[in-house]
Symmetry: C2
Subunit: 406 residues, 2 copies
C-alpha cells in the first residue's frame, strides 16, 4: 500500500468550494488504495489579512506574536478540510504544527524544521484516519509557535513525507508541472515528466516559483520523490527525483530566465588582496543577495568588479557602494536595471561537451550581446540586455531541441 | 503588590482601535503597581464568522474540528493585544489555552477546566511580563484543542486568577456593574457596590448575562473576588465576593425578571408514586431545562403537573408531552407562552422574615395574578402573565426601597 503526503496551497483551500474539490482529490487517492496525510496552506489571502492586522497594530510587531497570529491561518484551513473529508465519509483529524510533531529551531518568521515526530500520525494513518496538518509552522523547544517563512508549506510537506516514511510527496498547485521553458514566451514549451533535484534547484533559484528551494534540498537529502501536479486535473505532472542513471539524457532539460535583475559595476579600484571581501562583506551584511560576479583582468594595478543583485535591492546596493567607493578609492560606480539572466539547465551537460559553446553561438547568431557569463556543473547563465529575453529563450529552446520532447 | 487578572470580552478587542483602548487599561493597572495577567475573548463577530464557515462546510461538522477552528479566534486577539502592549513599552507574551497550562476534560464545545498549571506564567509575571491568555479554551489529556462553550472566557479568567493566586479577577464588560433591577424598566435602578456569589448566581440564572454562572460558581468555591466593571470608564463596578457578615443587609438586593419562559400543564394524571419521574425523565433526556415545577393537591386520585421551560424549548416539550400523555393516561396537555418570571433576590432574606409575604402583597395591590411560586433560601420567584412584568418590577423595586440605595 502506497503512503502519500499530499500538499495543497492557498488557492486549493481558498474557499468552501475549493476545499470541497480538494477533499475529492484526497478521496480519489484513498480510493486508489493509498494511505494519505495532507498538508495545507492558509486560505489564499488569509496570511496577508493577518499580517495587515499586525501591521496596523504596530510597525514593529514582535515576531513571536506575528507568528502566533499568522499560524492561525493554516489551522483554519486544516480544520475545514478535515470537516469536508468527514462529509465524504473519510475519517480525518486536523493537527496544528505543534500537534503534528513539528519541532523547529531558529528565529521567528523563518524557523527551520529540526525534526518531525511522526509516530502518532503513522498510528492514525494505519487506523484509516487522514491527518490534515498545518503547513508552514511548528513549535520551538520552549513551546512557542514558530513559522517557517513564506512558502514553508512545501518544506513542511516534504519533511512530513520523510517522517512518515511516505513513498511520495505530492505537491498540488495551479500549474501542471515543470516546463522546458516559460510557455508564455515559447508556446512550444513542453512539460517534463521527470526532473532531477539538482535541475529543480537551478530552476527554483531562477525564480520558477512552483517549489521552494528549501523543500527541494530537503527532498534531495532524503531522496524523497516529489510529484508536482495540478489540483485542477488528475493528469500526472512532473516527478522530481534523483538522477536516473540508466536513461539517456538530452543535452539540456530546459531554459530559464529572470528579469528581476540589476547590474552594478565598481570601476577602477586598486587590484589588491582583500578587495572582494571589502566590497561583498558590507553587501552581505546589508542582506543583499549577490548573484553573478565578474572581476575584470587587472590593468595598471586597477580592476573593475561587476555583479548582479535582485532589482528590489538595486537602490540600497547603489547607496551602499557610493559610500564604499570613497573608502576603496574607486573611480566610478555604475548601475543598470535593464538587464536579465537567461540560463540553460540540465544534468546532461555532465556527459555532453560543448553545451556552453553551443549556447554562445546561438546567441551570437541572433546578435545578442552577452554581458556576463557564469557556469555551474549543470547550468550556464548569461546576463544580457533585458529586451533580448524572449528572443534568447526561443532560440535556445529551439536549438537544443526541447520543443520535440512534447 | 497586588496581582490582578483582567478579562476583556469581544467588544473590548473588537477592532484595532478598541485593542488600543484595552491596552491602555492594562497599562493603567501596571502603573498602579499591580502584576497583571490578561484573558481575552475573540474579536466580536469572529467566533460567529468561524462557526458560519464550519456550518457552510457541513451541518454535522466534527466537534473536534469546530473547536480547533473556533479556538483561533482568541489566538488572534491575544497576539494583537500583546503587540499593542509592546507598543506601549510593556513586556507581553500571548499564550493559547494549551500554552498557558489550561487542561480540560469532557466533550468538545463544552469542555470543563480540570486544572491550570500557572507556574510558568507566574514566573513571567515576576519578571515583569504581562501574559495575554486566550479565554474559552484549553487542551485535553490527548493534546486536542477544546473549547469551554460560549461565555467560557469568564470561567477561564476566574480559573487563571485562582491558578496565579491573584488578589482579584477583573471582568471588563460593556456594563458598569450589577443593578438592583433592569434600568430599561426602572430608571431609578442603582448599581450595587457589592453582591454575594449566591446572589450573583441567582441573577445569572435569571438571564443577567454579565457573568457566566460557571465562572461565579468557580469563584465562590475558591473565594476569588470578581470585579465586574466597564471597559469604557475607570469607575469601580460591582464587586462579587463572599458574604460580608459584618454588614447590615437590606431585605433584598435586587429584582430580576425573565420573559423567555413558557408554561406547560399536564392535567388529570393518576396521582401515584413515580409519576413525576415518568414525566421529567423523558423531558431531561431531551435536554430540556425545566425550571419552576408545581404539583396540585390530588383530587379523586388525579393531579395536575405544571412547569416552566425556556421559550425555545416550548415546541419540543409540547410534542414530547403529547406522546407521553397517552402512556400516562393524562386527561389534557395545555401550554402557554405568554408568561414571565419575576424574582426578588437577596441574602438579607435569611435574617429578615416576611419578605415573601411582602412581595405577594405588593403584587396583589397592583392586581397582578400569581400563577406559580417557587422559593429558595435567598430568592422568591413568581410566574405571571407576561404583560405585568414592568409593573411588577417597578412596584417591587420601589416597595423594597432599592431606589434609595443610589
Amino acid at each position: 500500500m502506497a503512503r502519500i503526503v499530499q500538499k495543497f496551497g492557498g488557492t486549493s483551500v481558498g474557499s468552501i468550494e475549493r476545499i470541497r474539490e480538494t477533499a475529492k482529490i484526497v478521496l480519489k487517492e484513498i480510493e486508489n488504495g493509498s494511505e494519505v496525510a495532507v498538508v495545507v496552506s492558509a486560505m489564499s489571502g488569509e496570511t496577508n489579512r493577518l499580517l495587515a492586522m499586525a501591521n496596523s497594530m504596530s510597525e514593529n510587531a514582535s515576531p513571536r506574536e506575528v507568528d502566533a497570529l499568522v499560524a492561525t491561518g493554516e489551522q483554519i484551513s486544516a480544520a475545514l478540510l478535515a470537516i469536508e473529508l468527514n462529509n465524504l465519509g473519510v475519517n480525518s483529524l486536523s493537527f496544528s504544527g505543534g500537534q503534528a510533531g513539528f519541532k523547529t529551531e531558529g528565529s521567528y518568521a523563518k524557523a527551520r524544521i529540526k525534526g518531525v515526530d511522526g509516530d502518532h500520525l503513522i498510528a492514525h494513518m494505519i487506523n484509516g484516519t487522514v491527518p490534515v496538518v498545518t503547513g508552514f509552522q511548528g513549535v520551538d523547544i520552549a513551546g512557542n509557535v514558530t513559522t517557517l517563512g513564506r512558502g514553508g508549506s512545501d518544506t513542511s510537506a516534504v519533511a512530513l513525507a520523510i517522517a512518515l516514511k511516505a513513498d511520495c510527496c505530492d505537491i498540488y498547485t495551479d500549474v501542471d508541472g515543470i516546463y522546458t521553458t516559460d510557455p508564455r514566451i515559447e508556446p512550444k514549451a513542453s512539460k517534463m515528466d521527470t526532473i532531477s533535484y539538482e535541475e529543480m534547484l537551478e530552476f527554483a533559484s531562477l525564480g520558477a516559483k512552483v517549489l521552494q528551494t528549501r523543500s527541494v534540498e530537503l527532498a534531495m537529502r532524503y531522496n524523497m520523490p516529489v510529484h508536482l501536479r495540478s489540483s485542477f486535473n488528475l493528469i500526472p505532472g512532473t516527478m522530481v527525483t534523483g538522477e536516473d542513471s540508466t536513461m539517456e539524457r538530452a543535452e539540456i532539460s530546459g531554459v530559464a530566465y529572470n528579469r528581476d535583475e540589476a547590474k552594478v559595476t565598481i570601476k577602477g579600484i586598486p587590484d589588491q588582496p582583500g578587495i572582494a571581501a571589502a566590497v561583498f562583506g558590507p553587501v552581505a551584511a546589508a542582506d543583499i543577495n549577490v548573484d553573478v560576479i565578474v572581476q575584470n583582468i587587472s590593468e595598471d594595478g586597477f580592476t573593475d568588479l561587476t555583479f548582479t543583485v535582485p532589482s528590489a535591492d538595486f537602490k540600497p546596493t547603489m547607496k551602499l557602494l557610493e559610500s564604499l567607493a570613497k573608502q576603496l578609492n574607486a573611480r566610478e560606480i555604475k548601475g543598470d536595471t535593464g538587464v536579465a539572466k537567461v540560463s540553460i539547465i540540465g544534468v546532461g551537460m555532465r556527459s555532453h561537451t560543448g553545451v556552453a559553446k553551443k549556447m554562445f553561438e546561438v546567441l551570437a547568431k541572433e546578435n545578442i550581446n552577452i554581458q556576463m557569463i557564469t557556469t555551474s556543473e549543470i547550468k550556464v547563465t548569461v546576463v544580457m540586455d533585458e529586451k533580448y529575453v524572449e528572443l534568447a529563450v526561443r532560440s535556445l529552446h529551439d536549438a537544443f531541441g526541447l520543443a520535440q520532447a512534447a
